[in-house]
């Protein structure tokens, strides 16, 4: 596993990509129940519970090709996150374990520039399963927004979050499985349930998560569904939140308008690069070199390595 260290200052770090490594593809092919890969007339397709099949281009998951794309994007380090919307983590433990093991084995063997987030089985969230992965160099753990959308969810994952906190490793919160109505456009879940679930996880963290885990560094994917922009409404409704330097937001899928609005709301220091490749191709934000240096280099370092990082003079 390629660890990210504080010596990587000056390196662009994309904290949010997905790649299904070979061992995971093999297990998904062998399955006879969703989530599974099936070969049809048009090639490989992903079958998820309650959703229509979606074609999969396995070239998107070729490590060499992806490493070349990372190089072309100028990313010195890339963290692979588990594809939480597949619903692997939520399967019964006996079904989830071979898939999670295949993911961890596969991403741990990826060449530079890749590192990875560990996945957490939700049937019985187990810090003892996470600890050796952190020992092996996984950057932190990634869980679905739906698993942390309530006090009960935060408590259920409490021991895992405590381990991350104790080990000074971050948590990535990512949208989870979502069923779209039949014949819905391809973007339906991304613009409805993903946004709503990230939004809920953001406010659940304010209401319960932060109190229980005062030192945990947390990164919300996709700007937390723009949840922080609702702070005026939170105040109007009698809530309050102060600045929280331990919370980060990745900019995946958003452009200049949303990112600049977030800069206005929370400042530039807590925004990090997350491209969500191969779901979305990376696009540079035209917000200036200083914003780029903060989002691509300094802030991901602080998210991943904790201590304040001084850039070289």
């Amino acid at each position: 596993m390629n660890r990210i260290t504080s010596t990587d200052v000056g390196t662009s770090i994309d904290i949010h990509q997905h790649l299904w490594p070979e061992p995971l593809l093999r297990v998904l092919e062998r399955r006879r129940e969703p989530p599974m890969l099936v070969r049809g007339g048009e090639g490989w397709a992903l079958r998820l519970a309650g959703e229509t099949e979606a074609l999969v281009d396995l070239d998107d998951h070729d490590p060499d090709r992806r490493a070349a794309l990372a190089g072309a994007d100028g990313f010195g380090r890339v963290l692979i996150a588990p594809s939480v919307p597949l619903g692997i983590e939520a399967l019964p433990a006996g079904e989830a374990e071979p898939l999670l093991a295949a993911y961890h084995e596969g991403v741990a063997a990826l060449p530079a520039p890749f590192g990875a987030w560990a996945a957490v089985g939700l049937a019985a969230p187990d810090p003892a399963a996470l600890a050796p992965l952190l020992d092996d160099g996984f950057a932190g753990a990634c869980v679905s927004a739906g698993a942390l959308d309530s006090q009960a969810g935060c408590e259920r994952l409490g021991p895992v979050l405590e381990l991350l906190e104790r080990r000074d490793r971050p948590l990535l919160i990512h949208p989870g499985p979502a069923a779209a109505p039949r014949d819905a456009p391809s973007w339906w879940s991304a613009l409805t349930s993903y946004v709503a679930s990230m939004h809920t996880a953001w406010y659940a963290f304010i209401a319960w998560g932060r109190r229980a885990h005062p030192r945990l560094r947390v990164c919300f994917a996709m700007l937390a569904g723009l949840a922080p922009l609702h702070r005026e409404r939170l105040t109007a409704r009698g809530g309050s939140t102060g600045a929280d330097a331990g919370v980060f937001l990745d900019v995946s899928s958003y452009g200049e308008r949303a990112v600049d609005a977030m800069v206005r709301e929370i400042g530039v220091d807590q925004l990090v690069l997350g491209s969500d490749r191969p779901v979305i191709a990376h696009r540079e934000l035209a917000l200036g070199d200083a914003v780029r240096a903060a989002i691509h280099e300094r802030n991901p370092q602080r998210l991943l390595c904790g201590a304040r990082v001084e850039a070289p003079a």
Partner: protein, 158 residues
């Protein structure tokens, strides 16, 4: 949530200036560029301690929708206020002095003495976008809209 007015901002920087324990460790002398540390940020205001050396110069700029106040706590800073058709109005702010401005204000801050300067800055609402001014060879004034990061989170952080 409420925006601080000029008097409130000035009182805030004066109060923080009088509490060096809250910022003294964040002063960095000897860096080639200005050194910026954020002391506080909330819905209404952000507060910074800035160390100046070697003739550091902001160039003429505005703060878009934010008003601000500055307390000089060490050394001296020169403030120039842009005057069309005439020389800039030049003010010298010495240690122990404070000044404030509203969002319509255009100025340039620089440091011209051998001794370094340290200042406390507060902006309300928190600094977001800024205008950076330049003058073309023919005298045309240009304004570029920049993120506050360009000013306070420069690419090469000292």
């Amino acid at each position: 949530m409420s925006v601080l007015d000029r008097a409130e901002l000035r009182a805030l920087v004066a109060r923080i200036a009088a509490e060096p324990a809250s910022w003294r460790d964040l002063v960095r002398h000897g860096t080639p560029e200005r050194h910026f540390e954020q002391l506080w940020r909330d819905d209404d205001v952000d507060v910074w301690v800035i160390t100046w050396t070697n003739g550091n110069d902001t160039g003429f700029h505005d703060h878009d929708v934010s008003g601000g106040a500055v307390a000089v706590v060490e050394g001296e800073l020169i403030e120039e206020r842009l005057v069309l058709g005439g020389p800039a109005r030049r003010l010298r702010h010495r240690a122990g002095e404070t000044f404030d401005f509203d969002a319509s204000h255009v100025h340039r801050m620089h440091q011209d003495s051998a001794a370094p300067a340290v200042s406390i800055h507060a902006y309300s609402p928190p600094l977001w976008r800024m205008g950076a001014y330049s003058v073309e060879a023919d005298g045309t004034l240009r304004r570029e809209s920049i993120s506050y990061a360009e000013e306070l989170r420069p690419v090469v952080a000292a």
